[in-house]
Subunit: 200 residues, 2 copies
């Protein structure tokens, strides 16, 4: 196996071990030592791939975002080319909610990362850039949907984008079993249904 590929694979293995640690025990346990134990490799081996805990956290979060994007791409495959903007937004939002095991791991990683960002300036910058980039992608879809007549032009795209991203606020309701995954999906669909109602 080429060395470059092996290097990347090892980093992903460590990142997944970090996700499991965060998901099952919380980010307070996500030290190089405890993640190494979870990954079943030596402390020194993890340090070969990540010099610091922060570098490991940043990679694990970037990898979580990539995996979420991959799930979104998979779930819109076969839904038309190009897919309807409503289907794209539904796929993006539902993959950000903890509705199945993979999404729960990346959702918990993301929630912990935001809290970590509040006390670490360089993670704050990375987390800001990541969220701002995701927000921009959604705003482009919303603007295009207005241009194409799928969303009524009396909607402000920036505000609608913020309201779409706010749907991730269903997360604590799901995580604390206050609502079911099905009730969360019903809420997402209700919101999208109103957004995509255009006057005939």
């Amino acid at each position: 196996m080429p060395k470059q590929v092996d290097h990347r694979e090892r980093r992903e293995t460590i990142a997944r071990a970090l996700w499991r640690t965060v998901e099952q025990r919380g980010i307070a346990h996500a030290s190089v030592r405890e993640v190494a134990r979870e990954a079943g490799i030596s402390h020194g081996a993890v340090q070969h791939y990540f010099t610091t805990r922060e570098e490991m956290l940043v990679f694990a979060m970037d990898f979580a975002s990539e995996q979420t994007s991959r799930r979104v791409t998979e779930s819109i495959t076969g839904l038309g080319d190009p897919p309807h903007p409503r289907d794209m937004l539904r796929a993006m939002l539902t993959q950000m909610l903890p509705l199945h095991p993979d999404a729960r791991a990346t959702s918990r990683m993301s929630a912990a990362y935001v809290l970590e960002a509040l006390h670490n300036a360089s993670i704050h910058t990375r987390a800001h850039d990541g969220l701002a980039h995701g927000r921009d992608l959604i705003e482009q879809i919303v603007r295009q949907a207005v241009t194409d007549g799928h969303i009524s032009p009396d909607h402000d795209p920036a505000t609608e984008t913020n309201l779409l991203l706010a749907l991730t606020g269903l997360t604590p309701l799901i995580e604390l079993s206050v609502i079911t995954p099905q009730q969360a999906l019903t809420a997402v669909d209700q919101h999208l249904s109103r957004l995509f109602t255009t006057k005939a």
Copy 2:
């Protein structure tokens, strides 16, 4: 001062020190020892008021919820008797967002508490009960607003309640400075404005 009052006041002082610790350094630092230091009292004195870290966390969260309720009550005073349901919901939602220092402290406490609940069964039960109770209060307001003709009867009160609570999902956007507090308020008002649009 009566002993009972003094006891309660000391517990509130410790709870506020815990909020500051969570807000400024993260819940990983919210040990009895570090909270005692933040409160400027001895470790032993904190242990007199709270036997365990968990008991201290639970009290601090209950106190955060009470203080949020108090701010909501204050902000709807003078808005009519009874206040319009839209004003009540706006007050509840905006006091749950980190739009000013007091709300930021309780919002960060709440976000950290949800993550803590995922790895602690007894905190999970408390957090579930607290969120379910808050959700019930909002659903009662929504149902009454439908009965009174403020919200169109074609809206499902349970789903609308979940969508209202989801607006707390604006929190990471505000905390990471991706949107301004004013943009968050605009989004909340846009959502409420659509919810309270009834056919004439």
